[in-house]
Amino acid sequence: MNILGISCFYHDSAAALLKDGVIVAAGQEERFSRKRHDSDFPARAVKYVLREAGLKPEDLDAVGFYDKPLLKFERMLSTYVATFPRSFNSFRKAMPVWVKEKLWVPSIIRRELRPYKGPIFFAEHHMSHAASAFLVSPYEESAILTVDGVGEWCTASSAVGRGSDVTLLKEVRFPHSLGLLYSAFTYYLGFKVNSAEYKVMGLAPYGKPVHFDRIMKEMVHLKPDGSFKLDMSYFSYDYGLRMTNGKFDQFFGGPPRKPETWMAEREFDIAASVQKVCEEVVLTMARHIHRETGLPNLSMAGGVALNCVANGRVIRETPFKNLFVQPAAGDAGGAVGVAHWLYNTIDKQPRGKAWTNAYLGPAFSDEEIGQYLAEAGARFEKLDDGELTRRTARAIADGNVIGWFQGRMEFGPRALGARSILADPRDPRMRDTLNMKIKFREGFRPFAPSVLEDRAAEWFDIECDSPYMLLVAQVREGKRTIPSVTHVDNSARLQTVRRADSPLYYDLISEFDKLTGVPLVINTSFNVRGEPIVCTPHDAYLCFMRTNMDHLVLGHYFLAKPDQPPLREDVDWRKLYELD
């Protein structure tokens, strides 16, 4: 049975193909279109997943869409009515898009998938999230927590998964939304909404949560069972084109920070405060769900589940014994969720093997890479596995920055060793070098380590795996010799690497360990600021040539920057990508 899952029209559109109960391919449209957070119908991603599965549209048995458009439309109309006349501008902007596109999802799917004539199904947004977390998790039975901005009406839900079934129990409804609260602060701090929330999380450790008590007293009314209401007089996201209003400005004593301007203690403290609020709400919800279900396992999804600091506290401070967070926990993962929900829950089919990695994107053979490099006029050496990992590890240990492109691309927002930039975590200057000369991004942004799974507990205060870089742990006191991946609060957002999932990457880190005694490397996404993570050898070569990276490893090809001919471009690439 072949099921295509689709999520689109808001942000991070994606497609996933489930073949006989197993996701064989999944991809975000942005990687193919090269437009960050692309929300258009994922035509290129659909083309890729079908090609990967060896199928044509007419071979599909069902297509699933990740939410219920008419319920969402009803929520929007209800909001316009409730906030009349302040909602006029929002109404005027949103309605043409709805009338032209969002109300015609089945027609658009049929047009894009011609000549597909089979059924189209629709799952509730948070059902897609819940299914995307539980049905690929290793648990037979699990409590499920989904938290995001908003779906139809639901902004957070508790659910239970048993076998192939997922049952939604309770929900918090719009406009009371933890995701939108976090986005409101993201906006106020001068970052891009639905894009740069992770920057607020990265900024938080620089500050003190001095506003926490005031926010919890006046803005967020948290109940003992983890449910909450927001005082909407501080926000304008329900009726306007901005997230916050004048009352919010007064609360923090000034207008929102202008993007790209200087940040100081005030901004750090606000970020620290909202981060603490987020953690407090998620922890209270998780404890309540544990009390209600009594289950030892928790599966999480939704955009807020990408907040790895909160996730780390959930596993440390709640009674849950195990935690699984979907690697594509945001809306892109909804494509996986709806496909699994149709197959497992609706069709009552048994679940397949649990996910152990997120390598669901396209791969390129050495032959394809070699052909591309020859056409590009690049100079390279082709090495075998052993020589490749040794040379690369030596280059990292010598202080070089490496573009690392191997195997199938990751699904989800994190680079996990397939499309990564790697560097030496011991060098205290490496963070600034990477931020300023390679990624061209804000100096405060921390970097994350990829650590050998069997050595993780030796270096970090962590007792479980973190294969998707979605947990934060403290660097152990005796091991604080890795300044470039240690944040100001001595924490690190780590990825544990298993040899079974990525053998070459594991061997590379092992070689680095042999040279340095440090079983981890800096791993950051292979892109520059505002650019989607690279997908093809062409994207990777361009990114390598445009930045100050020293080496590029594409499959078994090893390239050194000084050997390369100058890149011939007729565009200013810095203007290609909108800053996030």
Binding site: L70, Y80, P85, L168, F174, D225
Partner: protein, 123 residues
Amino acid sequence: MLTVLLALVPARLEAWFNRLPLHNRILLGVALTVFVVELILRTWARGTVAYKRWTAFFQAIGAVWTAVILSVVYFVSVGLVSLFQRLFGHDRLDRRLDDGKPTAWHAHEPSPLGERQGARHQF
């Protein structure tokens, strides 16, 4: 037969056109002219500056009309429903903070059509 039809249709059309009031004849004439010019430009001048300006002009007219229609819809229908809801103290967004309820969780409401049948619909 075809010859007779070809002869009859323009004659009938002309008679119908002449019976129309003057303002309708003018409007129809303008619409026909726009249609014919669009066809000509689209066929022979696509991508030219003239075609881009022609398209931009009508897009601007479209934007103005969209704004006018949406304003009418908003202030008449949305406004009226909003007025009634406020009269009866109904708030679909449940924004009151002092509602005395111990929880803000709502029970999830499954589709009344059942899970499988409900999945067929966008609501």
